[in-house]
């Protein structure tokens, strides 16, 4: 470069920036999900790996096509956000769901929930959860058929259909023991079964400050508090708070879904409101609603409230 001819680079201050990018954030999220991905493949077999790959390809392809149609930069599909959506979507689905349905759900997640709103950063609802909500509405049977993971012979998932601990608790009043829940030896969705790896990944995200602890703890805390009240009232009918914390999609939802930066409030108070609101909804749905599980709807509902929460929880400027 001839400096005299072209001049030095001009740009607005600041002239130094931290070496963190959206892409790096997304890939760190993916790395923290890897233990859970590995565990889910060990528990449910290689077919799950096929589902992950199907979702990733479908999500990225959908985004690429829409970017082409909208004449935007296609390279944005490599920012990692589509991959995060794909992985999270698969984690909310039962292992026996077919790859075709996964591909369709991925398409809906990206096309409807993300790109129709304007792409990354513009969406109101968590794309993975919208994908799952669509599949739940379109295929109510497939999405509630669960197999028990086979931990004796890894890679050979048994196909015996098994009710999830939440369904068993709700409809049969049978409470699964906590250690099975914690290590994932229960029927359930692909990524929801092992709380241990999810919490491990979640703690890494908390340490890096990529998810807001206020949301995570107010969400889990509200569920724990409310279920404790009911449990103390009648332990024969209502499961313990520990059971509620570690069953279903609550841990996955609290660490990875509700905390999605784009669809959760940006203010600290807003994060508390989101967490408490979602916690109340989960307990209401689990204990009194028609579904055994309420994490998905609790988060989607609070997603819808987020713009409003942001509006009413503005920060107060220093000195005002």
């Amino acid at each position: 470069m001839d400096l005299k001819k072209e001049g030095f680079i001009l740009s607005s201050s600041p002239h130094i920036k931290i070496p963190v990018s959206t892409r790096k954030i997304m890939f760190l999220v993916i790395i923290t999900l890897l233990p859970t991905i590995v565990i889910s493949i060990l528990y449910f077999g290689l077919s799950v790996l096929v589902l992950y790959l199907t979702a990733i390809i479908s999500c990225m392809a959908t985004e690429a096509i829409i970017k082409l149609i909208r004449k935007q930069k296609v390279t944005s599909i490599f920012d990692g956000s589509a991959i995060v959506t794909a992985i999270l979507l698969v984690m909310t689905l039962p292992p026996s769901i077919g790859w075709q349905k996964v591909a369709l759900g991925s398409f809906i997640a990206i096309a409807v929930a993300k790109e129709l709103f304007g792409g990354l950063g513009q969406n109101i609802f968590n794309p993975a959860l919208v994908g799952r909500a669509f599949l739940a509405a379109a295929y109510p049977v497939s999405i509630t058929t669960f197999s028990k993971p086979n931990t004796v012979f890894p890679f050979l998932a048994d196909s015996v259909s098994k009710a999830t601990p939440l369904a068993a608790a709700k409809f049969d009043k049978v409470f699964t023991d906590i250690s099975s829940l914690f290590f994932g030896q229960v029927g359930g969705c692909i990524g929801e079964t092992s709380s241990l790896t999810l919490i491990f990944g979640g703690i890494i995200l908390l340490i890096f400050g990529l998810i807001n602890w206020r949301l995570v703890f107010s969400y889990l805390g509200t569920v724990a508090l409310l279920t404790t009240i009911f449990w103390l009232k009648n332990p024969a009918v209502y499961a313990s708070p520990i059971f509620h914390l570690f069953s279903g999609g609550l841990i996955l939802g609290a660490f990875y879904m509700a905390t999605d930066m784009v669809t959760s409030p940006i203010t600290n108070i807003g994060n508390f409101i989101f967490g408490i609101g979602a916690g109340i909804l989960v307990v209401l749905i689990r204990l009194f609603g028609g579904y055994p599980e309420g994490v998905m709807y609790s988060i989607l509902f609070m997603n819808a409230c987020t713009p409003l929460i942001n509006k009413f929880t503005r920060t107060k400027a220093f000195g005002s």
Partner: protein, 438 residues
Amino acid sequence: MKTFSKGVHPFYNKDLTCNLSIEKISLSSKLVIPALQHLGSPSEVIVKKGDEVAIGQLIAKASGFVSANIHSPVFGKVAKISPKPIVGGRMANHIEIDVDIEKTSQFVWEKQNIDLIKLASEEIINKIKDAGIVGLGGATFPTHIKYTPPKDKTIDILVINGAECEPYLTCDHRLMVEKADEILKAVEIVAKILPLKSIIIGIEANKPDAIKTFNEKIKNYNLPIEVVPLKVKYPQGAEKMLIHATTKRVVPSGKLPLDVGVVVSNVGTLYAIYEAIYFNKPLIERVVTISGDVVKKGGNFLVPIGTPIEHILSYVEVDLKKAYKVIFGGPMMGVAVPSLDYSITKGSSGILFFSEKMARVEEETPCIKCGSCMKACPMNLMPNRLASFSKAKKWDEIKNINLYDCMECGSCAFVCPAKIDIVGWIRYAKNYIKAKNL
């Protein structure tokens, strides 16, 4: 250790120059002096082409209330007066002086016999005003205005800003280590004109030698003075942040430090006051840090105002071929310039040379509402909102979210993972609203 809330932690990179003593450089054969070197209205040029000027002679006088005098740093002859862009792009007249190097080199400023007790407060203020002293921390606000509060306001605390929170810059650090007595003598002068109950020297903890020097020296002065080490955090030296950290007083939104009885002065400004009172010397030179990642040997130089960059370059080792960005000031709030055709002014705390790697402007990606900017903003604003409202030209809404409380410290854009030019958008909004009178 005292500090403010929020803020950021950039790499400081001060080791490059913090141990290099202030070096007086030789005279340049030509000086180019802008008639606008301060916040406010441009000074009025009162010399013309061909005039002989003497060292310390007034060459451009203050015009309007917020303005400052400018003096010739040398003996010489006015070669040219012509308009040119100053750092940042505004146009201003520039006075070009052919320097009489021999005569100037022989000149020595004589120490005056000053009896502080007899010195009247108006006299001090007038001397500060005549000397053209402005805030040397970078904001370049005329100092005499700061020291003359309205009748209904009383200033009882002087906060001396020795934070120097901008990375790379070490000019204030060196001044504090080498000129502590002079700075304290200036404090005595300020204590004459303001009813000070307390004087606080705020220094970031990464300058232990400066803290030590002042702790030793203040014992020799009969002043209510205290050295306050501050946590190393940016923007510790921002006026409102520094006041809050050292005095617990909060400057209300839209108000000035004097509204809470505080005046903040940079150590360089105080040194200039010392010279103005004790030597009758106007502000005609300042300490400038030369640094950056393509600078092999930088330094802290005492440079006459108007010295062209190229002249200073002979004192440093800088790989110009590898320099892709040249910044006046620090990397957080400094201003990038398109060429080397600029000279040192009263506000030039440093000149930084950055490599291609440092200068690269990264591609902006969509805001993912991560909230990093909000966690960083020392003014507790919502920088992401300010930027998006500016982009959408929502001028009424942007005023409602405290646009004018933003001091453009750059903490938000520094942490933004989407590399959004938040400060640029905020500046755009401020300028647009001002220009269109909205």
